[in-house]
Symmetry: C2
């Protein structure tokens, strides 16, 4: 431990004498670093010192022991503190009392331990009485300290202290704690001493020992279960540990000229540039939060203590100018004197974040680039969907919680089948579609529903993906809901919800409420528009959308999409009568039969593309040819098969046989994508003709035909030839007419396709990375099944995040990187994009920027998120080194 | 086509004047190159010239036209030939007659067209009569030419010529063709002219035109359907086309001093160093093959034509010395003068190949390395299994044909369930297990069966893989067999085979015979041993085996395995009562319940490992922990579930529910491999304990614990810690005893694992490439489903070969290469092997050598194949460039 001995482990802070600063968060923790910074700024901060996070790290590395050099450093700092305050620690006429607080680099409010009033003992108590002339206050401080020390440091039962307090209160007929006078509190201290004795714990009278034990407790609390859990949930990783701040006590409860408060330099809810906060006179910090007394709005402080209020306003301004951000502060007034106890960046709503960023930019506090970086792209989601009116939601009765699969809020009547949903929606009802899980056959019902609830499936289940694409609120995989199709009802939280009953869904949180909850529409304020304009100014990547209908396309274009990155043509085959033609094709015995059925689909498909081309007004549209295995188009239940048999005029057993013949053990790796087009060239022919004829019909159209699931360049070559033949043929038929722009490319979604991208690029004019499938095959995770264990994987830190939500840079990312390099090597001007779900995830968008993609594509409602994320990636600077697994993120 | 004009398109050959040579096969074809070579060697070869394969290539590239420069080159060569032979083409007293034969670089016997006697016309016929003094011969030659020309060149109906011939024969009361005299044959020519007239075809009298048209026909025949099919089946790719050999005719049918024959320089069946062949006097080549007359053994020629025989013997010796290989020759004797018409490397049986190689090495003809390269590793399979006695098989009645899934021959009585098979085998019967498809539950029955027949599944189906592992003969996926479990019978080829009936299987060909066919055991002759010793001398890679039982292990060690590369522990859980404990574990509600069930399995599993360690005598054993998803261990049918419920003492509905909860959409990418061990650490604990305790029990054991399906280093770290804990614990329990060698490593079978191999190698002491799964995920092919389209893929050349049989170098191979490089970078001494099915495929073994693996592992019966393939790869020289897709293999 030779190295550790030389290390500076304790940092002192006091007016003008701080050893630390704000940028040293990593080793001083957020609280400690900002206390030091405020001292340097000349703000009134009670002096103190910080034990670094490295002490915490060493504490665990040495098996819950400290480096030998720590104690002397603490001793030296206590001396400094004594000198600075003119007080003495643990003895003397003017005793030094301190608080001991945790503080990691990332805020973990309430997760770790705190001890106040440390330094009180049987000797310093009389001195405190003498000094303050307030016997009651002194005894109250002492009994609070004893209780806190026993509870927090020694692990004694909180309940035992409560019992002792109640005993005294009863004896003295005191109703509240405040009814006890100094004598009464003295009696409490005596009772507390008994509690210690009974528990065979000793309360140390030596202040230095008190401090050591308190530090122990705080460092230990770094790894208490709730702190560990908190870090897991909030994906906080790579920290050394917590720092410990030892700071001279100041008291807001020393009478009517004392007080305490918390405030934001601007309104954290709306972003309004107005001081915002609350205070209580004659109170301690916890009283403001506890809610026993109602705190007053901060503006009223001006009347009560004008001097302190003016001082606070000056500090507010100083802090904002210094930190160039909204600050969340804590202060205490001790007998008319103001002390700052904390400052940190203020948490805010998305709306506030946008407004503050733009306002501060206009005020000249921050630059345009800083303004763009100031808003969390993910948070924008809040601004793009209807939401519940907060007051209404607070009152609503939550009955279950599922996955927040597609954001927004929805209120409607429950229906359990797509047909019922469509019927009721036609009759003007607001429908919530409730299914155990959804399948492509449910598209119609999903399309008309205000919200979707499923009891099975994860964040990337069919319901979730489709709902996000539609911008429809969805709560998925809510295992608490027991859905019974037969009785048309579901049970959750002890309630039974029947067909037609009202429920409300919060798709951003996953909450399900009974009854109606009032919603409000998104307000796209001016600031929102400004931030988007700035984002567009700085981003280098294009942003497209995944859209299958003219309506979705129009929505996305409104949100700023610069084209379509993915049109899934298969969705088009489920609508209305199309599914019948599709099934005819599947059932056909030969090519002639298939061609006949495909002929029925041709004009419908062409109409789809005409609609999309028109909505795009010349923007490019990447159209993916048929991708899913054919079994997804046929019914798997007896009833559905009987209906299909009737419609097809064949026997149900024939249908059953066909459906069985289409069964695959691993359909994900089965007969789908371009493998279908190679097996049935007539399907590719039909789709190509629909695209080409539509392109002729809409002048200025800009079509990009995308062949899916290519793993080998020869697959693409095969399909490309078919498309080229159709293009040539239609050209002949349309002779004289100007030939439309049509590119042919492929989806890179099979690892082999990525690895051989140099070969694939010989045929492909563009690549679009299908990172959903690339993740499935690259990691070997079936999206439909991985739910069983992927949660545990993320919880245990085996994966940093669900790779279907956040692109797995070090694994799947390598495939993307390889394909980018090899693709460009063969064809320098190849257009590269991404159309997986990741296209709307900010971290993944950053990755796409780093590897040099030309554009990302995401569902319409995520387009603004992608625009902002792309801008942030560009501003953050040149292409960095991609994150490697194992290395800790800071 | 400027370039083409300058090209030499025609090569002349004649004694001492050949323009070509044997090494020019690629452009002269095999026949042409060897004719030129024989000329240069001074052997008597009728002179001629060869139109190169490049002409064929240009012919197709120019749209079935020839480069302008071809005709003058042909003219020049005809002149040379006229000069050389002293004959004139198409006119004159001594007319030059030629044969026109195809000949590609790779032999495609009978696939393309041939025209003989070209140059005959109404003018040259009288000259031929005069010259030979044999009117009948001349007319016979003419009518044969007319028929062949009409049939081959002009596409006329063969049948029409037959009818004309029959008409004349009837009129002249001739029974056979030979009964017709010159007059009769003259009449036939007249009739043939009528046939031409009727078909509105003209027979060209101009010899030069005859030649052009014949060349056309031969070049065209390169792409006739049967030639295309032949190349597909035999995986012949990358050839330019066929050459055309125009050669002066010689006649074996000019009387009793003429004759023709074919011979091998050594016995192609046994390898015996003895001239081996057949001849017929007064006959043409086709007569020897046609089988109308029985040819005589070559030795008899010594009596008939001593001079020619002696000359042949000298040529035999000269050719072997020159080519240093067994030659397959064709010769003709024209009126006592010997002519050589062909020589090529002789096809031989595996036994002959081995014997010839070793003999020639001993004779000093070839080096050791050449001897090793001389034997096709795949062919060794023939030598390692019992085979049918050829005569017996010839007589047997084939009723169906399936896939040759596991080589060898088997005769036995048919049983339709694993239970019945086991029962009957115990009673001493030879059992053939017949199933629609097999599952792990059938292991017991498969283990005792002499042969296995399934009607469903491909070359890598469960039945095929397991049977190859066991070395049991297996015919899989025989769709012709309609198996009915209810009636305990199957139908095939119009026959019904009932339980207990005898059938015989040829697993090397896929044939199924009714009744018993006599078999013989493999004879591992001395030459076989010698070639294996030589292989071991030259190979650089180790060869291990995939084995799950002490018996298989012992077999493999006998075949030269240097350890186990893969023990699949899951197979061990199906035997006898184990499946009950396994199911108890699966059904358990909590960890305690699972641990209880696992405790029952521990001693059994430990015993397995003790047996394997003992069989290995200190050789290393890679033991893979539980890999398949749990649903594979539970019954999916109602009957099985009822039985399980009874055994478990729970309700059948509970079982059904559990089985349903285990269902996965894509089990291949589901909850399996290390994901199980992470979810249920107690399984890993039990397996680790079984290995470690067994290792203590067998001194000198050498265990390598392999964690499957690792995609992320943290998965391995998690499982490794469990194993290390168990090792430490057992060490404590066994204190004093010497700790056994135990390594911990992983299978690289998930693309992500390969891509992040540098990280995985931090934890792994070895990698074993699971190329089956790596292919599934890398190419996105489900092994169980890809049968639908993979056949078409290979047929259409999208993949060069089934990637599950031959490792896909340019795709999956890249993953292996990346992992090798990255793994060694982190841990230079990391041990690298392969344990997928590819470990026994010669091409894949070569690849493994090229990327620098330490060993390959394959099923016991493929160990000798892998040894030889590894040696060949090492001899072929330094690491070459890996094959790239798109580049043509030569």
């Amino acid at each position: 431990m030779a190295k550790a001995k030389k290390k500076k482990l304790v940092y002192f802070f006091s007016g003008g004498k701080s050893e630390g600063k704000a940028s040293m968060k990593e080793i001083l923790g957020g609280k400690g670093a900002n206390l030091a910074e405020m001292c340097s700024l000349g703000l009134p901060v009670p002096a103190g010192f910080t034990l670094t996070t490295e002490v915490c790290d060493l504490y665990y590395k040495l098996g819950r022991k400290y480096p030998a050099d720590l104690a002397p450093q603490i001793d030296a700092n206590i001396k400094k503190l004594e000198k600075d305050t003119g007080k003495t620690f643990g003895h003397g006429d003017n005793p030094l009392l301190v608080s001991v607080r945790s503080g990691a680099a990332v805020s973990m409010p309430g997760m770790m331990d705190t001890v106040l009033n440390l330094g009180l003992n049987d000797k310093t108590l009389p001195a405190l009485i003498k000094l303050t002339g307030n016997e009651r206050f002194a005894w109250d401080s002492y009994r609070r300290f004893m209780q806190m020390f026993g509870d927090v440091v020694l692990g004694m039962e909180h309940h035992d202290f409560e019992m002792a307090l109640t005993k005294v209160k009863k004896a003295r007929k005191a109703k509240d704690d405040t009814d006890l006078d100094a004598d009464g509190l003295k009696a409490v201290v005596e009772e507390y001493k008994k509690v210690y004795k009974k528990a065979r714990k000793s309360f140390p009278q030596d202040a230095r020992k008190q401090l050591d034990q308190a530090c122990d407790a705080v460092f230990s609390s770094w790894n208490n279960p709730r702190a560990i859990k908190y870090r897991q949930i909030n994906e906080i990783r790579g920290l050394l540990g917590t720092a410990v701040n030892v700071q001279a006590m100041v008291y807001g409860n020393m009478g009517d000229t004392s007080g305490t408060g918390v405030a934001f330099t601007r309104n954290p809810s709306t972003g309004e540039n107005k001081f915002y906060g609350e205070y209580l006179m004659n109170a301690q910090g916890e009283d403001v939060v506890a809610g026993i007394r109602t705190p007053n709005p901060i503006a009223q402080l001006a009347k009560v203590d004008r001097k302190s209020y003016k001082q606070l306003m000056a500090i507010r301004s100083k802090l904002e100018k210094h930190y160039k951000d909204v600050q969340d502060i804590e202060f205490t007034i001790e007998q008319g004197k103001l002390f700052m106890l904390q400052t940190r960046a203020g948490k805010r709503t998305a709306a506030a974040a946008v407004k503050c960023a733009i306002d501060m930019m206009k005020e000249g506090l921050i630059t345009e680039k800083q303004a763009v970086l100031r808003v969390d792209p993910k948070a924008l989601d809040q601004l793009l969907h209807p939401t519940f009116i907060p007051a209404a939601e607070k009152k609503a009765a939550a009955i279950a919680k599922g996955l927040p699969a597609s954001p927004g809020a929805a209120t409607g009547q429950v229906y359990f089948s797509a047909e019922a949903a469509e019927l009721q929606a036609e009759m003007g009802k607001n429908v919530i579609l409730v299914r155990i899980e959804t399948s492509p056959e449910d598209i119609g019902g999903m399309n008309v529903a205000k919200g979707i609830l499923t009891s099975r499936g994860g964040m990337t289940s069919h319901a979730a993906v489709v709902a996000r694409g539609m911008g429809t609120c969805c709560v998925a995989g809510c295992g608490d809901c027991q859905i019974n199709y037969k009785t048309k009802s579901f049970k959750a939280g002890g309630k039974t919800v029947k067909e037609g009953d009202w429920i409300s869904l919060n798709g951003s949180l996953g909450t399900i409420y009974l009854g109606q909850v009032a919603t409000e529409d998104p307000k796209l304020t001016g600031a929102f528009g400004t931030i988007m304009t700035l984002a567009d100014k700085y981003r280098k990547m294009g942003v497209r959308t995944n859209a299958d209908t003219p309506h979705d396309t129009a929505v996305a274009v409104k949100f700023g999409a610069e084209g379509i990155g993915l049109t899934r043509t298969e969705h088009m085959f489920f609508e209305g009568k199309r599914i019948i033609s599709m099934r005819k094709m599947i059932l056909a015995e030969d090519e002639a039969g298939r061609k006949k059925a495909l002929k029925e689909l041709l004009p419908l498909q062409r109409k789809d593309f005409v609609g999309i081309f028109k909505a795009l007004k010349g923007l490019p549209a990447t159209i993916r040819f048929l991708d899913p295995p054919l079994h997804e188009f046929v019914p798997h239940d007896a009833k559905g098969q009987a209906e299909m048999a009737k419609a097809m005029k064949v026997s149900p057993s024939q249908i059953k046989k066909k459906v069985e013949s289409l069964h695959e053990f691993n359909p994900m790796l089965g007969h789908r994508g371009c493998r279908l087009g190679i097996y049935y060239p007539e399907i590719t022919e039909m789709q190509a003709r629909a695209v080409v004829e539509a392109a002729y019909a809409v002048p200025g159209s800009n079509a990009e035909i995308m062949i899916p699931l290519v793993g080998h360049v020869r697959e693409l070559a095969n399909q490309k030839q078919i498309v080229l033949d159709v293009i040539a043929q239609v050209k002949k038929e349309k002779k004289g007419k100007k030939a439309p722009k049509i590119k042919i490319g492929t989806m890179i979604e099979v690892p082999r396709g990525a690895l051989t991208a140099d070969e694939v690029a010989v045929e492909a004019e563009f690549f679009s990375f299908g990172t959903n499938d690339l993740t499935q095959m690259g990691c070997g995770f079936s999206r439909d099944d991985a739910g069983t264990f992927l949660g545990q994987y993320v919880e245990e830190g085996i994966y940093d995040a669900d790779p279907f939500q956040v692109l797995d840079r070090s694994g799947v990312g390598q495939l993307v990187e390889i394909a980018v390099k090899k693709g460009r090597k063969t064809r320098p001007n190849i257009k590269l994009g991404i159309c997986g779900e990741h296209g709307g995830d900010p971290s993944s968008v950053e990755f796409c920027h780093m590897v040099g993609l030309n554009y990302v594509s995401c569902s319409p409602y995520r387009v603004p998120i992608a625009r902002l994320a792309a801008a942030q990636a560009a501003i953050k600077g040149p292409k960095g080194v991609l994150t490697k697994t194992g290395k800790k993120k800071k």
